[in-house]
């Protein structure tokens, strides 16, 4: 397949052909069964990251009385984001339109047939490309909710997430991957450091601040009630991330293979790095630390996955593990916000570090001749990356704040004190885990 996603639309329309032998299929759209096989599976893998991956990752970390409510948030968000995506989200994000937003040519997926091919992915059916991108929108939204676990009304959550997908996610996806101004400006984001992790991370931080701390924060035991669930969740996130990062090559080729390799290496390295950092500073290596490290490594390598080599992945892994450990413990304590499940500390910080790392370590040897980072002598790439980070932090942070304030005024964001003490499972859903 000719065009990797991050180089995207502009290049695609210009018919640029990457001069790598493996990519020699040329610019004419033609469905390849191998690429299609891989991308269907990659879509299933990313779906598995949300359901049950993220749902369990989060459910294991809350208290027992909120475990079902936490899964309900992920389930409902994925369902809602999926429906919004086929109705209007995909067309806003991935049709040409302009620098800021796509057009409405695929509203309600009109015109989509078994033969359709998007100019953004010339060797697979457009239905597969659309679905693959849908799973990204769904998981990004669902990640945000970790920051406000244990205290948000289910109805408010639905309104928030629906609006957030349309107002925050779709534009940012368009800017970076759909031919928008960040992509044409040369921003590197292979699989979603900006679109997914920074975007969700800052939204989580803002949401945690707007909703306020959990009751009991700082004196009650808010530790995870069942980390076995979290271990299952992270494991499936890890496996699914192969679809997330290697799938972002949009083809079954050497690029996908390299992306898979550095993804796994960064995850393993960061898991060990967080483990060691915690062991040294707190006396014991916790299971929560090991899995948090893995997620930090996975999130951090994401924007760089198709551009860097194994040595860079080892470095990125160590930095991700140590920095996210610091951000989720000492730093969070200092700043005093209650980001329940460390969405900002892991995804936000990881996304920022990884997006910068892509600017530093991207190398033509892996990424093709047009892509060069600091180590290839192109220091400007780091600035380009920085600009995209700042723009995304402002847009996502700002609109998250506005949406939440509006929803708060209209129906209220937070459950009552009694509901919070007795648990959301019983009060919001009428169920409990024995």
């Amino acid at each position: 397949m000719t065009i990797t996603r991050a180089r995207g639309l502009a290049a695609a329309l210009a018919g640029v052909v990457a001069p790598l032998p493996a990519f020699a299929a040329g610019g004419t759209p033609k469905i390849d069964s191998g690429d299609t096989a891989w991308m269907i599976v990659a879509t299933a893998l990313v779906l598995m990251m949300s359901l049950p991956g993220l749902a369990l990752f989060y459910a294991g970390m809350v208290r027992k009385k909120n475990v079902l409510a936490t899964t309900a948030q992920t389930l409902a968000t994925v369902a809602l984001a999926s429906v919004l995506w086929v109705v209007v989200g995909y067309t806003l994000a991935f049709t040409p339109g302009g620098a800021w937003i796509g057009d409405l040519s695929r509203f309600m997926m009109r015109g989509l047939t078994v033969e359709s091919i998007s100019p953004l992915a010339k060797t697979i059916p457009e239905s597969v490309f659309m679905m693959y991108q849908m799973t990204f929108a769904a998981i990004t939204a669902a990640i945000v909710l970790g920051a406000v676990a244990d205290r948000m009304k289910f109805s408010a959550m639905l309104w928030f997430m629906g609006l957030w997908v349309l107002i925050v996610y779709c534009p940012v996806a368009h800017w970076v991957w759909g031919g928008g101004f960040l992509q044409t400006g040369g921003t590197l984001d292979f699989a979603g450091g900006i679109v997914v992790h920074i975007n969700a991370g800052i939204a989580g931080l803002v949401a945690a601040i707007v909703l306020g701390k959990r009751r009991g924060y700082g004196h009650d035991n808010l530790a995870p009630h069942n980390l076995v669930l979290t271990v299952i969740g992270v494991s499936l996130l890890w496996v699914g991330w192969m679809g997330f990062n290697a799938g972002s090559a949009l083809a079954a080729d050497g690029r996908a293979g390299m992306a898979m390799t550095v993804t796994h290496v960064a995850a393993a390295t960061a898991a060990l790095a967080w483990m060691v950092a915690e062991w040294l500073t707190m006396g014991k290596p916790s299971v929560l630390g090991i899995v948090s490290g893995a997620v930090a490594g996975l999130g951090t390598i994401t924007p760089a996955a198709g551009y860097v080599d194994v040595t860079a992945a080892l470095i990125i892994g160590v930095v991700a593990g140590v920095l996210c450990f610091y951000a989720s413990t000492a730093l969070k304590k200092k700043l005093g916000y209650d980001d329940s499940l460390d969405v900002f500390g892991v995804h936000g910080v990881g996304g920022i570090v990884g997006t910068l790392a892509a600017g530093v370590f991207a190398t033509s040897a892996i990424a093709g001749p047009e892509v060069r980072g600091l180590i290839d002598g192109n220091g400007g790439q780091v600035l380009t990356q920085l600009k995209a980070i700042v723009v995304t932090l402002l847009w996502s942070g700002g609109f998250t704040w506005i949406i939440l304030k509006v929803v708060d005024v209209v129906i209220g964001l937070r459950v009552t004190t009694e509901q919070e003490i007795e648990g959301l499972d019983l009060h919001l859903h009428g169920e409990r885990v024995e």
């Binding site: 009991g216 924060y217 700082g218 004196h219 009650d220 035991n221 808010l222 530790a223 995870p224 707190m282 929560l288 989720s328 413990t329 000492a330 730093l331 969070k332 304590k333 209650d338 460390d342 500390g345």
Partner: protein, 112 residues
């Protein structure tokens, strides 16, 4: 008759049971409880937030016995449950007016 209730550290249960059976106690009932006392729970730190685990897991052992066995039973529990470290627990003795074995209907000391 007396009902002796002991709150002990969980990992001492097997020793306490063995001690009691070795002095002829034929039955007892145990349950999982949580204790609060001089032994302060550890201060936990979970991702930068400190908290106090104020209740610690303990085991409650209840054994109904004849009046004349009180001393021996209390001694046996005391010895078996002892570590000398804070949080070892307590033994309470209360009067039990009647005991009945459901299976046979026997009552009093017969039923124990």
């Amino acid at each position: 008759m007396k009902l002796v209730t002991a709150i002990i550290k969980p990992f001492k249960l097997d020793e306490v049971r063995d001690a009691l059976t070795s002095i002829g106690v034929a039955g007892l009932t145990v349950s999982e409880v949580k204790g609060y006392g001089r032994q302060k729970g550890q201060t936990g730190i979970y991702r930068g937030a400190e908290y106090v685990i104020s209740f610690l897991p303990k085991i409650k052992v209840e054994v109904a016995i004849d009046d004349r066995d009180v001393e021996r039973v209390v001694e046996a529990i005391k010895k078996a449950a002892h570590t000398g470290k804070i949080g070892d627990g307590k033994i309470f003795v209360m009067a039990c007016e009647q005991a009945i074995r459901i299976r046979t209907g026997e009552s009093g000391s017969e039923a124990l």
